[in-house]
């Protein structure tokens, strides 16, 4: 089965890493929660609500990173026709969408005490919402074909089209509205944050990153099993041996 040889090797590495990712993610999560909820000070302006940021900001960063990763996997699938990239993108999509959703919900919870309303059409929240729509579109298209093998290429193309559009969408949304505070994590001249808060943010980013990747690996395992099962059901595994003997020349009538 040369088609799955490489993904199989990839999976072996991924399987070995999985417990480490889960473990590291768990440890970092505990540390991050302690640092974020207990050890770090409250903000002088936002008070205790600032602690929501330790979940909100990593989720936002990872949701965007996951979409970018999906697009990379999809592009590699389109260019080298290797199914691994497509499977990775499919495995990542729901995880990324969940991160996007977490980001939006925590943003709304944070917005109520801070802005006095759950939802504001501010540039960053709006572009996260559109990113969630892009995730929805990808997942819907990937599963919209009766013959599952038909959906691979359209979904991969959509992921690439989406990633090309994200900068345009972001720019236009910022152009539309620049109400939100400027990003402090990546501000020029280094982060302008309390070191305790930054530590909490970084710990949570690491925790969420490892856990989300672990989840994507578990999902990838599922996706690959489905592909193998379908192939086995159609006799693809056997056809190499079975057809060894049927090498006929055409006959003239």
């Amino acid at each position: 089965m040369h088609r799955f040889a490489n993904p199989a090797r990839f999976m072996r590495v991924a399987e070995r890493l999985l417990p480490w990712f889960l473990g590291l993610g768990g440890i970092l999560l505990l540390a991050g929660l302690y640092q974020g909820l207990i050890a770090s000070p409250a903000d002088y302006q936002q008070h205790e609500t600032v602690r929501i940021m330790y979940l909100h900001v990593p989720a936002a960063i990872l949701a965007q990173g996951f979409y970018f990763g999906m697009a990379l996997g999809s592009a590699s699938f389109l260019i080298w026709k290797h199914p691994l990239g497509d499977l990775m993108a499919r495995a990542m999509a729901p995880v990324g969408a969940a991160l996007c959703f977490i980001c939006l919900v925590t943003g709304a919870i944070w917005g109520k005490p801070t802005w006095g309303t759950y939802w504001v059409w501010d540039a960053r929240l709006t572009s996260m919402l559109i990113l969630l729509f892009l995730y929805f579109g990808y997942m819907a298209l990937a599963n919209a074909f009766d013959d599952p093998s038909r959906g691979h290429k359209p979904a991969a193309l959509l992921a690439v089209v989406g990633v090309v559009n994200i900068p345009v969408i972001k720019f236009s949304v910022y152009f539309f509205n620049t109400l939100h505070q400027k990003s402090t994590l990546f501000a020029e001249g280094g982060p302008s944050m309390d070191p305790d808060m930054l530590l909490a943010l970084m710990l949570m980013l690491g925790a969420l990153g490892f856990l989300a990747t672990a989840m994507a690996i578990i999902r990838l395992r599922g996706e690959m099993t489905v592909v193998k099962l379908r192939a086995a059901r159609h006799g693809l595994n056997r056809h190499d041996d079975a057809t060894q003997d049927v090498k006929h020349e055409e006959t003239t009538r």
Partner: protein
């Protein structure tokens, strides 16, 4: 290259003219939907006038989206699309021709009807030329981006709904620059940057959308 572009443009336009009820339906949707807003937000001329550019643009987006199935669906169902991919001409050029025909059959009538909606919704007089110019610059991008969505959903279940989910988020930048251009003109600011962005989106769509749509079509006819 221009030969096959014109050939497919001519054929699609001929089909559009022969099946002009399709165009009329979309235009009727455009006008009828606009007539709902006074009931929804109240008939106050000031309220309506303030949101009029946004309504016209959003409805233009929806109208274009509703007509996207005309682009490839019929050709796909009757087998013409696979024969089109089998001609020696480059497929992106043919997609461009089909998108151009789609724009002439949808974008142009929308632009022609936009002033009527402006009157219905009490649009400020100074806003008319900017709204029209913005639509002229923005609707071709809608047809091109829509072509990608239409091609990606060929053969999918509930293709129409799916297309809306794929295409509408990608339409947001066009909507933003189209509406902010009108707002800027009404407020007395320069509309130049807004139009430059709309133009940039159009150029990028012209270059990239036919390639993406062509790749999707090749997969659909396989």
């Amino acid at each position: 290259m221009t030969g096959v572009f014109l050939t497919i443009l001519k054929r699609d336009l001929l089909l559009t003219i022969r099946q002009s009820t399709d165009v009329a339906l979309v235009m009727a949707f455009f006008v009828v939907a606009a007539a709902l807003f006074p009931f929804g937000v109240g008939p106050g001329p000031e309220t309506l006038g303030r949101i009029a550019p946004g309504i016209v643009w959003v409805l233009a987006l929806l109208a274009v989206m509703l007509s996207l199935d005309r682009l490839f669906q019929q050709d796909w169902e009757d087998g013409a699309l696979e024969l089109i991919t089998l001609t020696p001409a480059p497929l992106p050029i043919l997609v461009l021709g089909k998108a151009a025909a789609h724009w002439i059959g949808t974008g142009l009538p929308l632009i022609a009807l936009a002033p009527l909606l402006g009157i219905m919704l009490n649009l400020t007089e100074t806003a008319y030329p900017i709204l029209i110019a913005g639509l002229a610059l923005g609707t071709p991008s809608l047809s091109l981006i829509g072509a990608v969505g239409a091609a990606l959903t060929l053969g999918a279940r509930r293709a129409g709904l799916l297309m809306a989910l794929l295409v509408l988020p990608l339409y947001i930048p066009v909507l933003i620059f189209g509406v902010t251009a009108v707002d800027a003109a009404v407020a007395g600011f320069s509309v130049r940057p807004h139009f430059l962005y709309l133009g940039a989106i159009l150029l990028a769509s012209l270059a990239l959308a036919p390639l993406a749509a062509a790749a999707a079509i090749r997969n659909a006819v396989e």
